[in-house]
């Protein structure tokens, strides 16, 4: 069981008009690993997330989750199966309090919920992210760093098996980023599988067990952080190759 991948994407292609964002992309993620997804801007990382989370349906290809085909399933159903995500551009429920924000995830992330239990769980998750004292504030009063944490809190409240983190370090102060790394490690320790898009290399390299490099919608490299750091294709994709240097 533990050898079968949690999620498998097979030959995913997704085009927006003439722009092919993902081109026959395949990868898989094993249980309890942290998979880092990197790549230059416009490489298709967020598109890949949207396809996994169900916001987009791929034009071609299939997505298997725990062995079942979820390619045509909506995001809400996928969430209930255990796939949760955060958004790169945070989408807090601005006019709701933090605890209400998180309660939405805690209640609807399960097939059958209980509102009181969900509220309790929401408070616990906020406490876990050390935002307990902010719980009655409205989301619109939050700083960027706390908004990123709120995104994470909501996703976490759904009790995910697979957590998709889209640049949760972006815009954080060094202290906040260090705290966020610690939180991600703690989440993994609870048995959650994590896939993260990250531009902050220190975080991506430091946290990932394995990394996937996307370039023009294709996987150009895959391996441990150390392997990736030395891969000539990756260096070329990021730095533009020796010729131009």
């Amino acid at each position: 069981m533990s050898h079968s991948p949690l999620l498998q994407a097979r030959q995913i292609t997704k085009a927006f008009g003439g722009l092919v964002a993902l081109k026959e992309t395949s990868f898989s993620i094993s249980r309890q690993e942290i998979l880092g997804l990197i790549g230059p801007n416009g490489a298709g990382k967020t598109t890949l997330f949207n396809v996994i989370a169900g916001a987009f349906t791929p034009d071609v290809g299939t997505i298997l989750y725990e062995g079942g085909d979820i390619t045509n399933m909506g995001p809400d159903r996928r969430c209930q199966l255990g796939i949760a995500r955060t958004f790169q551009i945070t989408r807090p429920f601005l006019n709701l309090s933090l605890v209400d924000n998180v309660t939405v995830g805690a209640y609807f992330g399960k097939k059958r919920g209980n509102l009181q239990a969900a509220k309790k769980r929401a408070a616990e998750v906020l406490e876990f992210l050390s935002m307990g004292d902010l719980r009655h504030q409205e989301a619109k009063q939050l700083s960027i760093g706390n908004r990123k944490k709120l995104e994470l809190a909501r996703a976490l409240a759904t009790n995910p098996k697979l957590l998709l983190l889209d640049e949760v370090m972006g815009g954080l102060t060094p202290t906040e980023a260090a705290e966020m790394m610690e939180i991600i490690r703690k989440i993994r320790e609870t048995g959650v599988t994590i896939m993260m898009i990250e531009h902050v290399m220190k975080a991506a390299m430091g946290l990932s067990d394995r990394m996937l490099v996307l370039h023009y919608g294709q996987v150009i490299a895959e391996g441990t952080p150390a392997e990736i750091a030395q891969n000539p294709l990756v260096i070329e994709a990021y730095l533009g190759g020796m010729k131009h240097a």
Binding site: A53, A55, G74, P75, D76, C79, Q80, A84, R85, F87, R91, P92, F93, L94, N95, L96, D100, T103, V104, G105, Y107, F108, G109, K110, G113, L115, R154, A155, A157, T158
Partner: protein, 337 residues
């Protein structure tokens, strides 16, 4: 001190002990005071014209409350609410005139017909995410319903209208004819309180969380497991149903209907202005907005056409300076119902 007194003291204390620390802003106080005032009004006001205005303002409160469920709570910008009102009115009126169905049953039928229409309209509407498109589709739907009512001359007599629609049947000694307006007042007050109750129950439960989440961000709501389509559909159907019930009441209270009187765009405008002035996404806003606006407009009749000018100016001022509506300014806690 007898027990009852002790209880009053205790309750008064809890009025003082709310989060804001102000008694007059506490929820139980507001609700109790409001209901007592509304119940007592017909005892204080014997003038039948004034009572008529109050009935209309309660009627518009029901319309504004139900529209607010869609727009203020769920964030679905429907501009076709008047169609559901008109539909409820026509179904109930025709049912009693052509088929001899009791107006009491008409209240239910009018609501059901509007709910069904709401279900049908919501199917194309829910595929749209941008507010302007939703507004246009719902507005067009309302126009279609109105045109159908105007042109089905054999059934509705078109713009000649339906006349002599029955009053609600007597319940024992309680009659609902124009000579007994106070009873109609209590009937519409009951409908309004039921509307408040239904919306309150919805908003306090999980559905309320789902609707507010959808209003704030559909993508995020969906990503957290909310079945966006199902909850939007629910809001649309409930909102339409309540408007239909209001329509049925209107038909049997006014006794005459024309497509223009119930389904013209100005009915929608009035619902919109009431809700915006009172405060979108609050429970008390649409009620107070309706009182202020319907009564205000009525007593500005001596100004002739200028009253619409004042109406417009008031709306502009509110949107510019009080975008959250009066009630949120007066009662910062009003948002939490």
């Amino acid at each position: 001190m007898d027990i009852q007194n002790q209880q009053t003291v205790k309750r008064k204390k809890s009025f003082f002990q709310n989060e804001t620390g102000l008694m007059w802003q506490s929820k139980p106080f507001l609700y109790t005071a409001g209901i007592v005032l509304l119940l007592a009004l017909p005892l204080l006001i014997k003038n039948s014209y004034t009572l008529h205005i109050l009935i209309l303002s309660l009627l518009f409160a029901v319309l504004a409350l139900s529209w607010n469920l869609l727009v203020g709570y769920a964030g679905i910008f429907s501009f076709g609410h008047h169609a559901f009102f008109g539909l409820g009115a026509y179904v109930s009126a025709l049912g009693s005139m052509k088929l001899g169905i009791s107006p009491w049953l008409g209240l239910v039928l009018g609501g059901l017909a509007a709910a069904l229409a709401g279900l049908v309209v919501s199917l194309p509407v829910l595929r749209l995410r941008a507010a302007p498109y939703i507004a246009i589709v719902t507005l067009a739907f309302a126009e279609i319903i109105k045109l159908v009512a105007s042109n089905l001359v054999d059934l509705t007599r078109g713009e000649l209208g339906l006349n002599g629609i029955e009053s609600f049947d007597k319940i024992g000694p309680i009659s609902f004819t124009l000579a007994h307006r106070e009873n109609s007042y209590y009937l519409i007050l009951l409908i309004m309180l039921l509307t408040v109750f239904v919306i309150y129950k919805i908003m306090k439960g999980p559905t309320g969380f789902a609707l507010k989440a959808i209003r704030e961000s559909q993508d995020a709501a969906e990503s957290l497991g909310v079945n966006v389509t199902r909850y939007k559909l629910f809001a649309f159907v409930v909102s339409s149903c309540l408007a239909g019930v209001a329509g049925s009441f209107y038909a049997h209270y006014i006794h005459t209907l024309t497509p223009t009187s119930v389904m013209n765009i100005d009915v929608m405008m009035q619902i919109l202005v009431i809700t915006l002035i009172g405060g979108l996404g609050t429970m008390i806003g649409p009620i107070v907005g309706s009182m202020v606006l319907v009564i205000g407009l009525e007593y500005m009749r001596f100004l002739g056409d200028y009253r619409m000018l004042i109406y417009g100016a008031l709306l502009v001022v509110v949107i510019l300076f009080l975008p959250e509506g009066f009630m949120r300014k007066l009662f910062p806690k009003a948002k939490e119902l």
